[in-house]
């Protein structure tokens, strides 16, 4: 006989921590108990609201106030420069995305930025900065894992306001690990992250461009200056039928372009 469903089971269910057989039992229980189902739904909404309210902070510039003097250093040396450009990028993206879905504290800057139309170049820069922020995450690079692809697609499509398709890059050696919602100037963006066997990660970011944005061919965006040196991230970006695409990763131009073309082809075929 199955053990009775406890309050703890409901929380573990809401957090996706149950094994499949117990999950099925909880789902059967919830189907018969609408009051409990309502509570579980509310708990999940709380988590979404937490992300909506706080994720904007991830894209804000890290102010000096938050760093001890030792970490503020811009002294010579590749490590310091790497940290320096990371912060510089965060600073630029924070000022760019303030008008969009960024956290509540960013809204103070919304007015002066709202008038500026989003451009493909800016989107590419934001995409590159987001990639730099999220790709090194070992534990939580994505909010929804690839194992839940149907949910991932439905969720990101809804937030993006456009049907999302997930390009298959396995033939190019990259498998999907998941996705997250990002912020781009003036609206949300969807970020899909892929990983190769050697651990190298690329991210594809998509957003709705303003209606009437001209289609644009592949262009390359790099980190400002010589930041990062060899192996630094770059992004190919393009605009196709009001959808902006940016593919970012620490790859050589030719390799990154091949991936970008694979994405482009799959969107053309569909």
């Amino acid at each position: 006989m199955m053990p009775p469903i406890s309050e703890s089971d409901l929380h573990a269910y809401a957090d996706g921590r149950l094994d499949p057989s117990r999950r099925a039992e909880v789902e059967a229980f919830l189907a018969a108990h609408p009051e409990a189902a309502g509570r579980v739904g509310a708990w999940r909404r709380q988590a979404q609201e937490l992300h909506a309210a706080l994720d904007g902070v991830l894209n804000e510039a890290v102010p000096l106030r938050a760093l001890p003097p030792r970490l503020q250093g811009r002294a010579a040396g590749p490590a310091a420069r790497a940290a320096g450009w990371r912060m510089a990028l965060a600073a630029s993206v924070a000022s760019l995305v303030a008008g969009g879905a960024a956290g509540w504290l960013a809204h103070g800057h919304a007015d002066d930025l709202a008038a500026r139309a989003p451009s493909a170049e800016r989107f590419a820069r934001e995409a590159l900065a987001s990639h730099v922020v999220y790709a090194p995450e070992v534990r939580h690079p994505v909010e929804v894992a690839a194992s839940d692809e149907a949910h991932l697609v439905a969720w990101l499509s809804k937030r993006l306001g456009a049907p999302l398709r997930v390009p298959d890059l396995r033939a190019e050696g990259y498998r999907l690990i998941g996705g997250r919602l990002g912020v781009a100037e003036g609206g949300p963006s969807a970020m899909l992250m892929y990983e190769a066997d050697n651990g190298s990660r690329v991210s594809l970011q998509l957003r709705h461009m303003a209606p009437g944005t001209a289609d644009a061919a592949f262009r390359l965006e790099r980190l400002p200056g010589n930041a990062g040196g060899a192996g630094a991230a770059a992004a190919f970006y393009w605009v196709d039928r009001d959808l902006g695409f940016a593919l970012a990763g620490p790859l050589e131009r030719a390799a990154l372009l091949a991936l970008a073309q694979a994405v482009y082809r799959q969107y053309q075929d569909g």
Binding site: E7, H11, A47, V57, H107, V133
Partner: protein, 188 residues
């Protein structure tokens, strides 16, 4: 800067997000992040010596180690209550912001939770830590994490949705639920 420093800087955005949720206030959050990173630099050898943890293997474990210190700093500060203010009204939220009602409700509701419950809600709901990981960060038994989580979620539901408190089923409350009134709850 060495590799450890670089990893600290890379995790600073994650720490800032967590601290913002804990304190509800941008300036206090950034001070808390700085204090956390100061301690991380001072006690870096402890992280390197932890069983099974070697930072050269990547950032794995570093975020939870940092959050452990951040939560301890919060508790210590609560013991010196004159040093802590929790913003119960949020600054800088223009009424024209998209979805202001929802976000304000969330922020206000979060601010009304006891610190111990807010900590669990952030670790599980925002950082997606397992209950065992959250228990380790907070230094409490897993059962305590579960009971605090249950209380936090029901309290948030009352505050955000105007829901009546649920009767609950087979309420899984364990020893040391340690929730309680506003202000400090000692978390051990």
């Amino acid at each position: 800067m060495d590799g450890f420093d670089r990893q600290l800087v890379a995790l600073a955005p994650r720490l800032r997000r967590h601290a913002r949720g804990l304190t509800g206030d941008a300036a206090s959050a950034d001070d808390l992040v700085q204090d956390t990173l100061e301690r991380a630099l001072r006690y870096r050898w402890r992280f390197r010596l932890r069983a099974g943890a070697w930072w050269g293997d990547g950032a794995d474990g570093l975020l939870s180690w940092l959050l452990t210190m951040m939560h301890r700093l919060r508790i210590n500060a609560y013991r010196r209550a004159d040093l802590v203010t929790f913003a119960d009204t949020l600054p800088d939220v223009p009424s024209a912001a998209p979805g202001p009602a929802l976000r304000l409700d969330l922020a206000r509701a979060l601010a009304q939770l006891p610190e111990a419950q807010r900590a669990v809600l952030l670790l599980v709901g925002l950082e997606q830590f397992t209950y065992a990981e959250a228990a380790q960060v907070l230094g409490v038994p897993a059962g305590t994490v579960m009971s605090r989580l249950a209380r936090a979620r029901e309290r948030m539901r009352e505050l955000m949705d105007g829901a009546a408190p649920a009767a609950g089923i087979a309420a899984g409350s364990g020893p040391g639920t340690g929730a309680g009134g506003p202000g400090l709850q000692r978390v051990k």
